[in-house]
């Protein structure tokens, strides 16, 4: 198993992005998917950083892919998707409709926001030229094992969500703007104020969700720290680590250390907890009872 870094979900400034990818190039991750996944309105502010990021990552021997948006609705977003084909890089599809822009025979990746729940769907995508598939975070270990096995039979690596606030839902409505009493059209880019999203708690003060523009995330950070052996047995090819605004390099190095057998799952979890926003870890999608659950000892803030 190795490490993939997924696209950053949040709206960061250009300089932040520049130093993020420069620092990431020095970490032991195998490949990076990057690009704007959440909101096309953000692109003009940081798209100029993309060529430099690709260059610095490739120079460090990392494979790079470009992601589509997660929810394609507007006409102009078709052109944004088409433009991704210009560079000679794999495209990661996070909205199925982007497939119509990918010519037959041109390989692509399938991201975690596409519904790949069973062998039939997996095989259809592979026949259509998918070369790498990241499964939806919601899947149980049993399903992961079946799909990783089916992928291996077809020679296609299957990844799972390894670290990061979980993408739980996406909408045409911008919840960040709504919290500031605005609509998506006149949002004034308020999502830029929250580099790891804006927290949403229950009325009883339970830490619950996080809003990031049109996306709803978990407030807890999912981590497969305690599940590495299970995932390895299941035939998973890589863990996907999702960017957060701080400590991400340390996080990548910590996971690499675990994959290399240099540390235990419990030690990794203990290392991660103070490094993630909000300090709560979860892994309940994989082995129950619910996504928010954590299979290890619960320490820190009560949920």
């Amino acid at each position: 198993m190795d490490l993939t870094v997924g696209p950053n979900f949040f709206f960061w400034e250009a300089e932040t992005i520049r130093s993020f990818y420069r620092d990431l190039a020095a970490t032991p991750v195998a490949r990076v998917a990057l690009g704007e996944l959440v909101c096309s309105k953000r692109l003009p502010f940081w798209r100029d950083e993309i060529p430099a990021a690709i260059e610095v990552l490739q120079a460090a021997g990392k494979e790079v892919a470009l992601t589509t948006l997660a929810l394609l609705t507007l006409r102009r977003e078709r052109k944004i998707t088409a433009d991704l084909m210009d560079l000679d890089l794999p495209v990661e599809v996070n909205d199925l409709s982007a497939l119509v822009q990918i010519p037959e025979g041109r390989p692509f990746w399938v991201g975690p926001l596409v519904n790949v729940y069973n062998e039939g769907t997996l095989r259809w995508l592979i026949r259509r030229d998918a070369r790498r598939i990241c499964l939806p975070p919601e899947l149980t270990l049993d399903s992961v094992a079946v799909l990783a096995g089916a992928g291996r039979d077809e020679g296609v690596p299957v990844e799972v969500w390894g670290h990061g606030r979980l993408p739980l839902a996406i909408s045409a409505r911008c919840y960040h703007a709504r919290l500031h009493d605005r609509a998506k059209d006149s949002c004034q880019f308020v999502c830029g104020k929250d580099p790891d999203g804006r927290d949403v708690d229950t009325m009883d003060g339970q830490q619950f969700l996080t809003v990031n523009g049109v996306q709803t995330l978990s407030q807890s950070t999912a981590s497969m720290a305690l599940k590495i052996d299970d995932l390895h047995s299941a035939g998973v090819a890589a863990l996907r680590l999702s960017p957060q605004s701080r400590n991400f390099d340390d996080i990548c190095i910590a996971y690499a250390s675990r994959l290399g057998g240099e540390t235990s799952g419990a030690a990794l979890a203990a290392r991660l907890r103070p490094l993630v926003p909000g300090g709560n870890l979860s892994d309940g999608f994989l082995s129950g009872p619910a996504g928010a659950a954590w299979s290890g000892e619960r320490m820190g803030k009560p949920n």
């Binding site: 394609l72 609705t73 078709r78 909205d95 199925l96 409709s97 982007a98 497939l99 119509v100 822009q101 926001l113 519904n115 729940y117 069973n118 062998e119 039939g120 769907t121 997996l122 095989r123 259809w124 995508l125 939806p136 975070p137 919601e138 899947l139 049993d142 399903s143 079946v146 799909l147 979980l166 739980l168 839902a169 996406i170 909408s171 045409a172 409505r173 919840y175 919290l179 609509a183 998506k184 804006r198 927290d199 949403v200 708690d201 229950t202 009325m203 009883d204 339970q206 619950f208 969700l209 809003v211 709803t216 978990s218 309940g284 999608f285 129950g288 009872p289 619910a290 996504g291 928010a292």
Partner: protein, 326 residues
């Protein structure tokens, strides 16, 4: 006349819908193959065959929803549902999963395929992809499109469109939402339930009714106020000092007044949400909307809303059909 597509959670509700004037009814089998897999609801294969016979004798169609995403290693359950729907004489199946669509197109080519709203096909490219790859003949459009967007979509596709006019609103891209399974372990995609009753707990606390889902507090309702079911995205939450319905208010959709515009936008069919509702709900709602589509066909104005008591939170909205919703 626009086709009125009506929900049937039980055989009794199906009979009520047909007798109230439904052109088509949609229903599911009593297992996780459909997205309303609630206790006590839905049809056995025998129920389904009887229901189809009943509906066909009265000139109505039956559409069978097999719209969850088959579980890895358990695809035969969904394949059997397709076979049972065809054997019962269903007029169409409503599907969302790529693997299942491919299987249906290959093994049941004569069984009409509709695309469920759970496929979240929100643009012409998505719809054409499903139409070309799997021979889908109709698509149920997500509830988050404006009337203008619906008109634009219809200009670029050849398949029929079916749009929601009444009932519960889903504010996230459907079939791509894991909010429910984050809190409870059960999701609409995998298990056919959202915010399942099995994980709901009500508790009277200090003059308020607290409604919790999977242990997370979704609503606190003072004595005497209407008590919404704790559907996760309709909850009352707080963020950085603000408290309210961060995602959506617990209101439901009533787009009666927009029926003429939806017709002009090219929609072929109107869908009423509510398979989990009683036969009383179904009879009243279907009767009202049948009158509305007849009025529409005759060029007459839409009837005034008489359905306030049945809508969630007892308030209605035209939802995303108006652009300001975003």
């Amino acid at each position: 006349m626009m086709e009125l597509v009506c929900p049937a959670g039980t055989p009794a509700a199906l009979r009520a819908a047909v007798e109230a004037g439904a052109h088509a009814v949609y229903c599911g089998f009593a297992d996780e193959t459909n997205a309303r897999n609630f206790p006590g609801l839905n049809f056995t294969p025998e129920d389904m065959a009887e229901a189809v016979a009943f509906a066909h004798a009265r000139g109505a169609k039956v559409l069978v929803a097999i719209n969850t995403f088959p579980r890895a290693g358990a695809e035969p359950l969904w394949h059997r549902a397709l076979a049972n729907a065809e054997a019962a004489g269903a007029d169409a199946v409503i599907l969302a999963d790529i693997g299942l669509l491919a299987h249906a197109a290959e093994r049941h080519p004569l069984l009409r395929r509709h695309l469920s709203v759970q496929a979240a096909a929100a643009n012409p490219d998505a719809i054409n992809l499903y139409a070309n790859a799997f021979g889908v003949r109709r698509v149920v459009l997500p509830r988050v499109l404006t009337v203008q967007e619906i008109a634009a979509i219809n200009r670029e596709i050849d398949v029929e469109t079916e749009v929601f006019v009444f009932g519960g609103l889903c504010v996230m891209a459907e079939g791509r939402c894991s909010l429910s399974s984050y809190a409870t372990g059960k999701s609409p995609n995998m298990n056919g339930v959202c915010s399942p009753a099995s994980h709901v707990a009500y508790s009277e606390e200090g003059g308020e009714l607290a409604a919790r889902l999977g242990g997370f507090t979704i609503h606190r309702t003072p004595e005497g106020e209407p008590a919404p079911y704790p559907t996760l995205c309709k909850g009352c939450f707080s963020s950085d000092g603000q408290t309210g319905h961060i995602f959506e208010d617990p209101v439901s959709l009533d787009a009666t007044q927009l029926i003429p515009e939806l017709a002009r936008a090219g929609a072929s069919a109107l869908k009423i949400e509510g398979r989990q509702r009683s036969r009383a709900y179904v009879a009243q709602v279907v009767r009202t909307f049948r009158a509305a589509v007849e009025a529409q066909a005759a060029g007459q104005p839409m009837p005034e809303n008489m359905l306030a008591r049945l809508t969630e939170g007892q308030k209605a909205t035209i939802g995303a059909y108006a652009k300001t919703w975003r």
